[in-house]
């Protein structure tokens, strides 16, 4: 309460000013738009001509080039700002080289100065007033909850009135698509239509909120913001195993994890006290940045690019604030200083990841199936071990196993797990072998315990007799040489044969070494040049007297098995140790090669954090963002949910709440919802959504009258429901649902279906392939950034390279071609036709059933007539006597009239899946 008091008073003061008389000027309402449109271009964040800027209050009233301030509070005639606006000399009149301000605008500024030139923050930087009450109910009949009271008040102001409630079945389909992203089945519609209970609708709402598909639908939205993809982008577009993050998001939505916890865990789960595996996986949110595996790239350049992107994405997702321009200079229109971008960057700059191929740091987890085997083996191993050989149990099973293996001396290191390398080192597309091992190239492994090691084995493959040799150095490239091994031919090169896996172990003894060291491998060519000398798969470290020697061969066998059970890796965010933490500098003009002053972690001044309360680390930063001291996060979040349900955000520019964004259509409603989300709902999303979908506003019909179209073409004032085209994912998922093809499994690795193009690096081995992959929900489609599924892009999906707050819905012929001709969609037409033929006996009933199944409502006579026309035309067309004719897949095996019948039904089914009403939320 207290912390808001000052602002509340301020707001009341200004509020009373703006309301009492027309002649009292409000800075935000009257003055700021003029300054933004006419002045800031030259007197803003990028340029401050005449040393005069109107971006910050302190600049606006400080001395300008002339030595005097441009605005003298209370006296317009002494204010240079005013004098310049009305100057007779065009050369001196402002704005320069542009038409003068209108008399009205000049008067506004004049009065504003005379009234004391009071400055206000932009609305978005002022916390919501916590005393908002919904306008009084003057429409008792219509209103169902407080949302409606806000909406009703606004629409009546605009001369509009609510639309009638939508038909029951229309409402049900809308609700299903909105809450779980899938349409209701025939049975679900029938059940609902029969249910006459007063709370029939609420029951559906509750059931859908509890559905396991709820999480999938909302995770799909979050994936745009998280720029989630299964590859790294740029030239190589190597695969990236990060799907556990997607599943974490699905689970979080399903469990109704409070949005503050949801956010903090993604931004700083690694810094929570003793984080769980799941909390670490959540931090993969910011490992979805692009990484460049192209040969000859500077890892630091792309590490920096990723960190800058994380800052921009964080601000866009949680603050609705565009920070990208602040990278190069102070914000031209909003009160963010150049330096402040880098102060925010300082929170993110000490993460360990460095654009390396291997994408360390990672967390490793076992699949449900493997977990059982792991637990059994581990228990069995532990039961045989002496107590002194058993490490303390941890919550990271994989880590625990690694500790045991290392302790006992069973030590395998993957070759690709290097932390740094020379330019010529790359990995092959499986990311499992060191590839492009060229003469004089090298790799570095961090902190290897070599204390007891006496031999190292390299598992390598080569196709020439003397391919090259590996030299091992300690601590630096020129450091002590401790061993060397020659790599010779392991396989015969043959066209079309992959010899990479034909590895053999090449062992070398190493000189005695004490303790833990960085280890460098340098590669040299052998008898002849080859672009790639050999492949290295892994290394094994042999200790002099490994502890496992104290046990029998059976135990060693178990250790081997334990080491070989595959684990799923997920790249995560983790801090560098304090002594290795990077310093953060301002980048002059945004160039990372042009370092300015060092900066420390800090939140932009506009948010008014006292210096002694600045967050110390990324966790504290995230906690501040999701606290009620931050005016933006809750507003930005409720606006996103609102947009998904109602078609547009209350702030239409979802990515930009700053002064250049759109003004909220219903500011009080936005603030009321934000406060309610934080306080009453304790940041829980399901109650928030429940409130939205049980409002009368939501339940209106989408039928529009000419009057409403005239008064409110875009439906800003919500006097009807918005007819919204479904998203790319919803369209495909719906096609799969109504044709009964959908495989409804929730979660798991991404899948390879017919839309997937693996590009240069192919599809990863961990992806699901084959029949079980074909008809999964679109959320699971393997997404390669360089070659994303075209049909998704055609329906306006972003390519997932950058955070996207809002999809622009288009309406194009390529969409029509996709719905008409896409292979999967046509398979669905075949399947739907089969259903139609099986379920009903007469043509009329089959066609009506097909319509009901796709649209969730009964067909009208007019539409049935048209479907019959199509059916009969098609039936005539598929004259079985005509041998030239090709038939749809399902009809081919049939004979005679049945063949014609099925073919004609397929044509009808295909048409149904193309109807406007099918791809639109009615």
């Amino acid at each position: 309460m207290n912390k808001y008091l000052g602002i509340v008073l301020l707001v009341i003061f200004f509020g009373s000013c703006t309301n009492t008389s027309d002649t009292v000027i409000s800075f935000n309402r009257d003055v700021r738009p003029i300054l933004n449109n006419k002045c800031l271009r030259c007197h803003g964040g990028v340029k401050a001509n005449g040393e005069f800027s109107l971006l910050f209050e302190e600049d606006a009233f400080s001395e300008t080039q002339s030595g005097k301030p441009a605005i003298v509070r209370g006296n317009h005639s002494k204010s240079e700002l005013y004098k310049r606006l009305v100057h007779e000399d065009v050369e001196l009149r402002m704005p320069l080289d542009a038409p003068p301000l209108t008399q009205q605008e000049i008067d506004v500024l004049k009065q504003w100065i005379d009234q004391g030139a009071k400055w206000e923050k932009h609305w978005a930087y002022i916390p919501p007033k916590n005393n908002i009450t919904p306008p009084k109910k003057d429409s008792l009949l219509w209103s169902r909850n407080e949302i409606d009271q806000f909406v009703y008040a606004k629409m009546t102001q605009k001369g509009l009135s609510p639309s009638p409630e939508a038909a029951k079945e229309v409402l049900l389909r809308r609700l299903y698509l909105d809450l779980i992203g899938l349409p209701p089945t025939v049975e679900q519609v029938a059940r609902f239509m029969k249910d006459t209970a007063e709370n029939a609708y609420e029951k559906e709402v509750n059931a859908l909120l509890a559905s396991k598909h709820f999480g999938e639908r909302w995770a799909t939205v979050w994936m745009d913001l998280a720029r989630y993809a299964d590859s790294k982008g740029y030239e190589k577009d190597s695969n990236r195993e990060i799907w556990k993050f997607r599943d974490w998001v699905i689970d979080a939505f399903n469990n109704d994890m409070p949005f503050d916890e949801f956010s903090i865990t993604q931004l700083a789960g690694d810094l929570l006290p003793q984080p769980t595996e799941e909390q670490l996986i959540a931090t993969a949110f910011h490992r979805n940045t692009l990484a460049n595996d192209e040969g000859g790239t500077d890892n630091e350049e792309f590490r920096v690019a990723a960190v800058l992107e994380r800052v921009a994405t964080t601000y866009e997702v949680w603050q609705g604030t565009t920070m990208a321009c602040v990278q190069c200079h102070s914000h031209p229109y909003d009160p963010f200083k150049h330096k402040e971008f880098y102060q925010s960057m300082a929170f993110f700059n000490t993460a360990k990841d460095n654009d390396s191929y291997f994408e360390e740091p990672k967390v490793y987890t076992y699949s449900e199936e493997n977990k059982k085997e792991v637990e059994a083996l581990l228990a069995s191993v532990k039961s045989e071990l002496k107590p002194t050989d058993i490490p303390p149990q941890t919550k990271y099973r994989y880590g625990e196993i690694q500790t045991i293996l290392k302790h006992l001396g069973y030590r395998i290191h993957e070759a690709e797990s290097y932390y740094e390398s020379s330019p010529f080192i790359e990995l092959d597309e499986s990311l499992k072998h060191l590839w492009q091992v060229q003469d004089s190239s090298w790799v570095k492994y961090d902190a290897i315990d070599l204390d007891a090691v006496q031999e190292i084995g390299f598992f390598a493959s080569a196709t020439i007799p003397y391919a090259g040799h590996i030299v091992i150095h300690l601590d630096s490239l020129e450091g002590e040489k401790i061993g060397e091994v020659k790599i010779t031919k392991t396989a015969v090169a043959k066209r079309g044969i992959d010899t990479r896996n034909n590895t053999r172990e090449f062992k070398t003894a190493i000189s005695q070494v004490k303790g833990t060291h960085d280890m460098y491998l340098r590669f040299y060519k052998g008898e002849t040049y080859a672009g790639n000398l050999f492949f290295v798969d892994k290394m094994r470290f042999y200790e002099k007297e490994p502890r496992m020697n104290a046990y029998d061969a059976a135990l060693k066998q178990k250790l081997k098995k334990l080491a070989e059970i595959p684990a799923t890796s997920t790249p995560i965010i983790q801090e560098l140790p304090k002594n290795k933490a990077r310093k953060t500098h301002l980048f002059e003009r945004g160039s990372w090669l042009n370092l300015g002053d060092e900066v420390s972690k800090s939140i932009p001044d506009i948010f008014g954090i006292p210096e002694n309360k600045e967050p110390k680390d990324r966790l504290a930063f995230a906690q501040w963002m999701l606290s009620d001291e931050n005016p933006l996060a809750a507003r930005v979040a409720v606006n996103r949910f609102w947009e998904q349900i109602f078609g547009f955000g209350l702030v239409a520019s979802m990515e930009e709440f700053g002064s250049q964004g759109d003004k909220p259509t219903h500011p009080e409603l936005l603030d009321w919802l934000a406060l309610r989300f934080m306080n009453e709902h304790q940041w829980r999303i399901k109650p928030l959504l429940r409130e939205m979908v049980t409002s009368a506003t939501y339940m209106q019909s989408s039928v529009v009258t000419p009057d409403k179209l005239e008064k409110d073409a875009r439906n800003q004032w919500l006097a009807r429901s918005h007819r919204t085209r479904l998203s790319a994912e919803q369209i495909r998922d719906q096609v799969l649902t109504v044709s009964d093809l959908l495989n409804p499994i929730v979660g798991g690795p991404s899948v390879v279906n017919s839309a997937v193009d693996g590009g240069w690096t192919g599809v990863p081995e961990w992806a699901v392939k084959g029949d079980s992959a074909k008809y999964r929900r679109s959320l699971y489609t393997l997404w390669k950034r360089v070659t994303p599924p075209k049909e998704m892009l055609i329906f306006d999906s972003p390519d997932k390279s950058v955070c996207t707050s809002r999809r622009i819905r288009t309406n194009t012929p390529l969409q029509a071609l996709n719905l008409l001709n896409d292979a999967t969609f046509f398979e669905a037409s075949n399947a739907l036709a089969t259903q139609m033929a099986q379920k009903e006996a007469t043509i009329d009933k089959q066609l009506s059933y097909g319509y009901f199944k796709t649209m969730g409502k009964t067909i009208t006579d007019e539409k049935l007539l048209l479907l019959k026309e199509l059916y009969h035309d098609a039936y005539e067309h598929y004259d079985v006597g005509n041998r030239e004719l090709e038939f749809p897949e399902i009809a081919i095996a049939k004979k005679g009239t049945e063949k014609r019948h099925l073919a004609a039904l397929t044509v009808v089914a295909n048409a149904l899946l193309n109807l406007d009403e099918f791809i639109v939320k009615g």
């Binding site: 875009r714 919204t724 288009t810 309406n811 194009t812 012929p813 071609l817 008409l820």
Partner: protein
């Protein structure tokens, strides 16, 4: 189209225009009928409350169409156009330290050797332009071309440099050049995509994002077409549906959609109806345009087409056909120009020579063919890679293959037609082709110039996104006036 349909279309058009006039936000329901596939005009995109629509084009255009030939991988200017006899004299010598101090290279480490030109040069045409023996056909068209010898870019890795060249930013997420153009101008032929992309020798490493629409509505994505198989994805009917059946089903779909419109009065449905009609038309119009078989033999021979392949030669001929049929922007990518000399066939000697054989005849034929049809006047042709190559040898292996590293400080591009001075050379590099010494142009200048020739002011062609007016050239770019007629 019957009267009812027409009335609907008029209504839709009216509604859309009014949407626009009310400055409503973004593309939903706001696409004019002609706006499909980026083929429409500015009314299609109503996100621009601040822009003056009536002023597009900003001034009289010199070109109506663009054909952009991007050599992905970055060809060596030192073996094609930028003749450096002095470099020959330094061949094999250690690179002077002054060239290396403070520089970053993709692969060069330590002190590399200098590498002389691997091919002979002569002067051709009235313009006396230098061309290497690698491009014998091209020697005949040098008088049509304006060479830019001192192009500079900020990037020296392929994907970022390609992004910079094609989208104005080295990072992803921006609309491509072709998308900006159709956004600004639409396209004359409403039955074809406004922005077409053709690939040969595989795709560019930057991937589809190079022709993505970024934050512009997706209608401004480049449509990837090909000379073989299905010209556009999903253009052909599925098995069991022939064009007669398709015609009937589209007719019924549209009639039912009309019914739906009667019920709910959503103007967006009318747009959908027109898109289905257009989709059906495209099923015949696109394959027709994409069928180079119809060309007379002498034309095929002139380009050196390779039937049944996605070759650069086929794509050059397709580019002409597409432009002839009113496509606004045709973007070709030819991959395989990254000559590091890491093995035989990958060097600036024979490797480059062989690669040049794939493009020399077709690109020369394209210019001649455009000219003989009177199309070169209003078609701007651009040729170039994403950066150039170093005058130093890339000493990756110390073996005998001759390669050059990526170089972003000076490389050659050329433009022809569309109001560009024919037979002209602009810009100059130092005596070894390392640094630009005069007539430097940056990637953003090239982009500004391309837009300029189309009648678009690169500073005024903006799109509001994230609260800011974005441009192709960001805050940079100057039109290269010296090369314009």
């Amino acid at each position: 189209m019957d009267i009812l349909n027409e009335a609907h279309f008029r209504q839709a058009e009216y509604n859309t225009r009014r949407h626009f006039l009310k400055k409503c936000i973004s593309g939903m329901g706001a696409l004019t009928l002609g706006s499909v596939l980026g083929g429409g005009n500015l009314l299609a995109n109503t996100m621009q409350p601040k822009r003056s629509y009536s002023k597009i084009p900003h001034f009289a255009p010199r070109a109506k169409h663009v054909i952009y030939l991007h050599m992905a991988g970055a060809p060596s200017q030192l073996e094609l156009f930028d003749y450096k006899p002095e470099l020959q004299k330094m061949d094999g010598q250690a690179c002077p330290p002054s060239l290396l101090e403070g520089k970053r290279f993709a692969f060069i480490r330590g002190v590399p050797q200098m590498l002389g030109p691997q091919v002979n040069f002569k002067q051709y045409g009235e313009s006396r332009s230098w061309v290497s023996d690698n491009l014998p056909h091209f020697t005949k068209v040098v008088d049509e071309v304006a060479f830019l010898k001192a192009v500079q870019t900020d990037e020296f890795n392929h994907a970022p440099a390609q992004f910079l060249m094609q989208t104005g930013s080295a990072r992803t997420g921006r609309p491509s050049l072709g998308g900006w153009v159709t956004y600004g101008l639409g396209s004359p032929n409403k039955d074809l995509p406004g922005f077409v992309v053709l690939l040969s020798s595989g795709g560019p490493t930057g991937g589809k994002r190079l022709w993505g629409s970024g934050f512009l509505p997706t209608v401004h994505q480049g449509v990837q077409c090909q000379a073989t198989g299905t010209p556009v994805q999903n253009l052909t009917n599925p098995k069991g549906i022939d064009s007669e059946m398709r015609k009937k089903s589209v007719e019924i779909i549209n009639k039912i959609n009309e019914q739906e419109y009667q019920e709910v009065k959503d103007p967006e449905i009318l747009t959908r109806i027109s898109q289905y009609e257009l989709a059906f038309k495209m099923q015949t119009s696109v394959p027709e345009v994409m069928n180079i078989e119809k060309e007379p033999d002498y034309i095929k021979e002139m380009y050196g087409v390779t039937p049944g392949k996605n070759s650069f030669a086929n794509n050059c001929l397709l580019a002409r056909r597409l432009v002839e049929n009113g496509v606004r922007f045709v973007q070709l990518y030819d991959k395989g120009w990254d000559m590091h000399g890491t093995g035989p066939g990958n060097g600036v000697g024979d490797g480059l020579k062989n690669k040049c054989k794939q493009i020399d005849q077709p690109m020369s034929a394209l210019l001649l063919d455009l000219k003989q049809r009177g199309m070169l006047e209003d078609t701007l042709v651009i040729w170039g890679g994403e950066f150039g190559r170093t005058p130093m040898m890339e000493a990756r292996t110390g073996e005998n293959f001759l390669g050059r590293d990526h170089h972003n400080e000076a490389f050659t591009m050329w433009m022809a037609g569309g109001g560009v001075k024919p037979g002209f050379t602009y810009g100059e590099t130092d005596e070894i082709g390392y640094s630009a010494i005069n007539g430097k142009v940056h990637v953003h200048d090239i982009q500004a110039t391309i837009l300029n020739q189309l009648g678009l002011d690169h500073e005024r062609l903006t799109y509001r996104f994230q609260g800011r007016d974005f441009r192709l050239t960001d805050v940079h770019g100057n039109v290269i006036k010296d090369i314009l007629t």
